[in-house]
């Protein structure tokens, strides 16, 4: 019995004109989006290689003089994510590189800045097609599974057979879902084949695995939307009403919740911006440096009896030894002070941001669409996880450069009590051939899973609950 219903559903759908439109949209848009994004990825990759080469060339001509003059700016580039062909996410929004110097790190430009107004709204990619376009069409297919048959009067006839309602509902669900899943699968395979032809490493172990997972995830997502559409259909008497309700529900779930959740979060829990924080930290650094210089000058004059000693230093005089001792103490004191106050600023900010982000995330879980997008961008290495990994890697790289390069130049600034400023350099040689390399650790499957647990639960919720509601409503449905 179930088989008959499924067959009937599939046949009916395949022969409808919306099926042709759907097939066309899938078969054109999905491979096209993959193609276009692959072209973009290859371009990014070439740019990346070229810039890395030039930056390395630049670094190899560095000399001690540059380091002492504070002219060493090293760059750490982010390798473009291969799976950005599936989900662009933050790919073009993240800075392409960070610049490191003795004062700290600074973000470079993002590639989005070079593009036009429209691409700032996001690019057309596989994830967008699934999340926005296909979800809408799938709900259209589901909108008249119940109410459409009722309007035609066939529902009454069907149910006059000895057929339990739950079997009918299940048959309609499976049949209807299969008739949207098949065109999607075909389009996905065509897109993947095209990537293979363009020699994109689809079969590389990690990427191949992720391709399968992404396909699986998308199938589940489409299923959730089909069930939601069916729930609306089973709750309305006319398919026109069902359609309008679906459209408005779709606009709410797809367009509004993911965007508005963040805006609401920032409205109810405002956080200082990054710019304000970086201004604050640079202000702190400057004021501490000035204070340190003053204190050093005072001590130096007290110990050595005047600045004239700077010119004829005797390494082994007792005063010199005492000064070295004092200088070390002062350095230590200010380093501690700086570390403490920096941590105060940045940790407080990080905490606030974390709260805001979790509010936004919680709100966005109302929509399975946001959940889907979070998971797929994290899988593709273009999501929030990729961003936090990038920033962590940058911080770590700054530390390793600090110990390998920047700390080998010691600049002593002193301000004497009468207001004169003196600068003294001492440097240990640095081998610029063996600079530490910048690299971002890969995202592990465990991290993706851990970060997206709530998102996965949200999708599961949206599969089960609408089905339950559809089931209950259909059992009590007035078929006349």
């Amino acid at each position: 019995m179930l088989g008959t219903i499924i067959k009937k559903e599939i046949l009916e759908n395949i022969l409808s004109f919306r099926f042709v439109l759907f097939l066309l949209i899938c078969a054109i848009l999905i491979p096209l989006a993959m193609y276009v994004n692959d072209v973009g990825y290859q371009k990014n990759l070439r740019d990346y290689d070229e810039q890395l080469r030039l930056a390395n060339q630049d670094a190899s001509t560095l000399q001690m003089g540059d380091l002492m003059g504070g002219r060493v700016h090293l760059k750490g580039f982010r390798h473009p994510s291969a799976l950005s062909v599936i989900a662009q996410g933050l790919e073009n929004i993240l800075p392409r590189y960070y610049e490191f110097n003795q004062d700290g790190y600074k973000q470079g430009d993002a590639s989005v800045a070079e593009q036009s107004t429209l691409s700032a709204q996001g690019k057309l990619d596989f994830s967008f097609i699934i999340q926005i376009i296909i979800s809408l069409i799938v709900m259209l297919f589901a909108s008249d599974v119940i109410s459409g048959e009722k309007e035609l009067g066939t529902l009454r006839v069907t149910l006059s057979n000895s057929l339990p309602r739950d079997i009918l509902l299940l048959g309609k669900l499976i049949g209807g879902y299969l008739s949207v899943w098949i065109p999607f699968t075909i389009a996905f395979i065509v897109g993947a084949l095209m990537l293979v032809i363009r020699s994109f490493p689809v079969f590389a172990p990690e990427i191949g695995m992720k391709f399968v997972l992404i396909f699986f995830l998308s199938s589940i997502f489409i299923f959730a939307y089909f069930v939601i559409g069916m729930m609306v259909s089973a709750s309305s008497i006319r398919s026109r009403t069902a359609l309008v309700a679906i459209l408005l529900g779709w606009a709410f779930l797809q367009l509004i919740v993911p965007k508005a959740s963040d805006m609401i979060a920032s409205a109810i829990y405002p956080v200082r911006t990054e710019t304000a924080i970086s201004l604050q930290t640079s202000l702190l650094t400057n004021s501490l440096e000035t204070e340190k210089a003053k204190e050093k000058g005072r001590e130096y004059v007290a110990i050595m009896g005047g600045m004239e000693a700077m010119n004829n230093q005797q390494q082994d005089s007792p005063q010199q030894a005492r000064w070295n001792e004092v200088e070390k103490q002062i350095d230590q004191k200010y380093a501690d002070e700086k570390a403490r106050r920096m941590a105060e600023i940045t940790e407080g900010h990080a905490r606030e941001k974390k709260v805001q982000e979790s509010i936004a995330l919680g709100l966005s879980l109302i929509s399975p669409s946001a959940a889907f997008y979070h998971i797929i961008t994290d899988m593709c290495g273009t999501g929030e996880l990729a961003k936090s990994k990038y920033i962590d890697a940058v911080k770590q790289h700054q530390n390793s450069l600090e110990s390998a390069v920047f700390s080998s130049v010691k600049r002593t600034m002193m301000t004497t009590p009468d207001g004169k400023t003196m600068m003294r350099f001492s440097a240990q040689p640095v081998d610029f051939k063996t600079l530490p390399n910048f690299s971002i650790p890969g995202i592990t499957a465990g991290e993706i899973f851990k970060d997206n647990l709530a998102n996965m639960l949200s999708i599961v919720f949206w599969m089960i609950v609408p089905f339950g509601i559809a089931y209950v409503r259909f059992l009590k449905y007035d078929v006349r």
Binding site: T117, R240, M263, E274, S364
Partner: protein, 489 residues
Amino acid sequence: MDRLKIIIKKEILDAFFSYRFIIASLLCLVLIPLGIYVNLQEYKQRLADYQEAMHLYQQRAEGTIDLDFAAEGYRPPSVLSIFSVGLEYYLPNKITTSPGGVFHASNEQGINNPQSLLFGKVDLLFNVTFVISLLALIFSFSTITGEKEGGTLRMMLANPVPRWKILIGKIIGNYLVLLVPFIISIIISLMVLNISGSVDIYSRGILAPFLVILIATLLFILVMFNLGILASTLTHRSITSIVTLLFIWTIFVLTLPKISTMIAEIIYPVKSQQVLDLEKMLVRQDLEKELDHKKRALFDEVETQLGMQDIGASVGTGSPEEKAVHTKFDELKKPMENEYNQRIDNEVNKLQQEYVNRRNVQQLIGMNLSRISPASSYNYLISEISSTGVLEMNNVLKHAQRFQDEVKENIYDKFIIKSYGGLNGGTATMIDWAKGFNPHKAQVPNLAYHQTDLGDAMRAEWVDILLLFLFNIIFFSAGVVIFNRYDVR
């Protein structure tokens, strides 16, 4: 005329009591004021950041103008970004000038909130293009087919009333009903802006552009309306009508605007800004090296001419012979330096110009491709009027170049660097400054920034206004023609 009024009245009443009106009202009343409120908050934040950055820069630079000094210019955020965020977050907000003549435009806003970047912002522009356009279709897809299905169309046409009058009546009636929640939510948003006190909505810089935005928005909603009615006259069942419309909407709103720039990137590729900067640097370095070589050769020549041994770096001990060498050298090297500076400027400008030209062509291809969709035209129009569009990007670069030139003339060129080099590789540098210039009292240069104004935006965007009118006329007249031959049975 009387009949037209009756039809309009009937349509208004019909639409008012439908449940889609309630939902449309809810969506408008929540989304539009929320979008404007949140964008207002973010604008205030950006403004505060801008002021603080300016202040700190002034503090840092005051009285410390010397050879290392690099003047910085900051771009204030656009007030109208409360209506359309557009490129606001991606436009450079800091210009760093350099004595060499090349400025660096950077964006230091940081990647504050990845989620909002991931999903984009909800502003008035987004609400209209995505949500209200969909509502316009929902209000219009069943105007003809619905009456046919209900059997009332036949009866209505049995009266002596021309068909085009019915169509116009239906458009006006339904359109007015949709405008009610829209206008109310706009008024609420304006009240929010007014109460917040941080933005003066009656100032000329806001009121005039806002009115143009409003008119363009009404025009765009009407385009979507006419499209809905056209689809309704083309089909015989409401369900077919809405399915067709949704596909068209998907293509117009979701696909075309996004894919056209990508297609343009493929058919007309342009190298990235980074590569350009590197090329500029290489050209500059090459020419500077050449100049250095020539200068050294010249110095040696002057030395031998005056019968001196290699004096190298020992500058300042001041024997009369040495002074003679230096005076002669200074005199001879000046034309050489000027020539090279000129050449560097030319080469760099040529590269920049080539790049800008190519990028403009690419942008134009993408924009023209996307103009098949009225949604793109509307987007371009609104973002340009709000000074957050492509024009603004060019405006930033123009301001940056002017600022760079100004600072170079007023500050960098006032420092005179004399550098002497001998064959043994040693160099000595002396710094002096031009007459009448005192680095300790020089004023810290600031970037005076003016956003593109309404006039500029309209001059650049008249095509899109025209297109919006054209779409209205085409859809409406096609609707009339087809409805005249519509089978009402």
